[in-house]
């Protein structure tokens, strides 16, 4: 077994002693009184403290919900099971929502995984690569038939989420922008505009509509998919979503199908 494998295993298992071959002594033979275990713990603490801090930065609303102490325990438990796969730590924590689905100590907060998903989306849209935008005014000359055949290539700074929980109300409440949430499913679109994240409540069917559009369906086909799902979405709702998407520069390019 490699030396670094032994070091790695000891570092990531709190009950493991430091591996053999380490010393408090320098090459000059001087000895400091601090025991080896204490010295090794500096590295162990550095690793987990820094990962907990990275998660705190990415999930402020989850932390606000469970409290500072509770979040620290949660983050430590998560980090032990899910070490980062690379050093780009601003993307770390994408598996936290799924981890929360199985995390017994917080299972009474059923909405927590979806709240974490919202925070993953907020980070993702804030950090998404910059993109060229499609000028909305170019669409002004299109006929209604041509518009129904439009396919939109979305920018990477747009995410959608459908939740059985009042996810938009939760977000507003935790940001001191709304009243106590009442129980109902909600759908949202999260996007970046002028460098800031915007969390937009979608009308019923809005998620299905945008999901179809993002999958490459035309506007007309996407409306049909919404109708087939049994959801009634008035044309003005579709128009409102479409306008939102175009006015906030969330489309890279458009094509007219067939």
């Amino acid at each position: 077994m490699s030396n670094q494998k032994l070091f790695f295993d000891a570092l990531t298992n709190a009950n493991f002693p430091p591996p053999d071959g380490l010393t408090e002594t320098s090459l000059l033979g001087a000895i400091s009184s601090m025991p080896l275990q204490e010295r090794f713990n500096v590295y162990r603490n550095n690793v987990f403290h820094s990962l907990i801090e990275a998660l705190k930065a990415a999930f402020p609303l989850v932390e606000k919900t469970v409290g500072t102490a509770g979040f620290k325990i949660l983050a430590h438990d998560f980090a032990r099971e899910h070490l980062p796969s690379n050093p780009v730590l601003y993307t770390y924590g994408q598996h936290l929502p799924d981890f929360l689905e199985q995390y017994a100590p917080l299972s009474h907060l059923g909405y927590l995984p979806d709240l974490a998903r919202l925070e993953v989306s907020i980070s993702a849209v804030c950090d998404a690569p910059d993109h060229q935008t499609y000028p909305a005014q170019k669409l002004a000359a299109l006929t209604e038939t041509e518009i129904s055949k439009l396919c939109l290539d979305f920018a990477p700074c747009v995410r959608i989420q459908a939740s059985p929980w009042p996810i938009h109300m939760l977000w507003a409440f935790l940001n001191d922008k709304g009243d106590d949430p009442i129980m109902k499913p909600q759908e949202i679109m999260v996007f970046r505009h002028d460098f800031s994240p915007i969390v937009r409540l979608l009308p019923p069917g809005g998620f299905t509509f945008l999901e179809a559009l993002k999958a490459g369906k035309t506007l007309g086909e996407s409306m049909q998919i919404v109708e087939a799902s049994g959801t009634v979405m008035p044309p003005e709702s579709m128009q409102s979503i479409f306008n939102d998407v175009m006015q906030h520069d969330l489309v890279k390019s458009v094509t007219i199908k067939g």
């Binding site: 490699s2 030396n3 670094q4 494998k5 070091f7 790695f8 570092l11 990531t12 430091p18 071959g21 380490l22 010393t23 408090e24 002594t25 320098s26 090459l27 000059l28 001087a30 000895i31 400091s32 009184s33 601090m34 025991p35 080896l36 204490e38 010295r39 090794f40 500096v42 590295y43 550095n46 690793v47 820094s50 990962l51 990275a54 070490l83 980062p84 796969s85 690379n86 050093p87 780009v88 730590l89 601003y90 804030c126 950090d127 998404a128 690569p129 910059d130 993109h131 990477p156 700074c157 970046r192 460098f195 800031s196």
Partner: protein, 302 residues
């Protein structure tokens, strides 16, 4: 090393300012950007960021960094290449670094003499290496690989250490010098790391500095440390969470007396203070560097 593009030619004040840098934190954007072209007031010539915080990223952070590049030179300081890794370099991560360096054209690129990845998992710390011939060969191979991919020199920093290895048989300064000689890399000398490591291992920091290959040093880091008090004694922790300590300023003075002006960075990564507190550290570095440089110039002239 690239050029320091913001040197004010013929102006001694401007020349000194051009060597002074700060680790840039987004919370200080307004103060740094607000200084605009009047940067002499702030006495800051360059900024440094952790490379990983900007890799593949769009949005506000990179936009602001590019705005700051109009006034300040930029240094990219990597923390994730894991140059001492037994696994070899992570090619995807190296590609990210190549793209970042190509996008931002920094005047300095640096990394650490450490390892941090194993088996496809990343430990967010600079883990220690035994100083052996085998490890020297491995690190040199990886430094060569990085410099070849980037098409430029990188600097390697001496990290703080809290323990040693029975297997080590090469003194750390000798190890660093051999690495620099074999690969052509420069050294980033973190003065706080010298002090922390020496205190933790019972070595005299002045002796260590005397042994250090200062002629290979291209950049200097200054930072604060914390003291971990336990019943068994005190361990110094390199936490970058406070002002530079007096003995580290003394070591810095001795170092500049040996090297003359070098790009010098104030690092403050945790418990990040208001700008005016950070700026005081820059002014202190300026004062020490100026005084030490006079001694250096006199010695050279003599």
């Amino acid at each position: 090393m690239g050029e320091l593009p913001h040197i004010s030619s013929g102006d001694a004040e401007g020349l000194l300012n051009s060597y002074l840098g700060v680790g840039y934190k987004p919370v200080h954007f307004s103060e740094l950007y607000g200084s605009g072209t009047n940067k002499a007031i702030e006495h800051v010539g360059w900024i440094e960021v952790h490379a990983e915080n900007y890799m593949g990223r769009g949005g506000l952070l990179p936009a602001r960094l590019r705005a700051l590049q109009e006034t300040y030179s930029l240094s990219l300081h990597g923390v994730g290449l894991s140059l001492g890794s037994e696994d070899g370099l992570d090619k995807e991560h190296l590609t990210r670094l190549v793209e970042l360096v190509s996008d931002y054209s920094p005047f300095l690129v640096s990394e650490h003499l450490a390892w941090s990845s194993h088996g496809g998992r990343y430990l967010n710390d600079l883990l220690p290496l035994p100083y052996t011939n085998e490890v020297l060969d491995r690190v040199c191979r990886h430094v060569d690989e990085v410099q070849s991919a980037l098409g430029r020199q990188i600097l390697i920093e001496n990290p703080s250490t809290y323990l040693g290895f029975d297997a080590s048989h090469i003194p750390k300064p000798t190890f660093l010098e051999s690495m620099a000689n074999r690969t052509g890399c420069g050294l980033l000398l973190d003065v706080n790391n010298i002090y922390v490591s020496c205190r933790n291992s019972g070595v005299n920091p002045d002796d260590y500095l005397d042994d250090f290959p200062v002629n290979r040093v291209v950049e200097i880091h200054l930072a604060g440390y914390a003291e971990d008090q336990t019943p068994e004694g005190v361990l110094l922790i390199d936490n970058h969470g406070g002002p530079v300590s007096p003995p580290v300023w003394d070591l810095f003075h001795r170092l500049i007396g040996k090297t003359g002006y070098l790009p010098t960075l104030i690092e403050w990564d945790t418990n990040i203070p208001d700008w005016n507190i950070l700026h005081k550290e820059v002014l202190k570095a300026r004062e020490v560097m100026s005084a030490a440089h006079q001694a250096y110039s006199l010695e050279k002239a003599g």
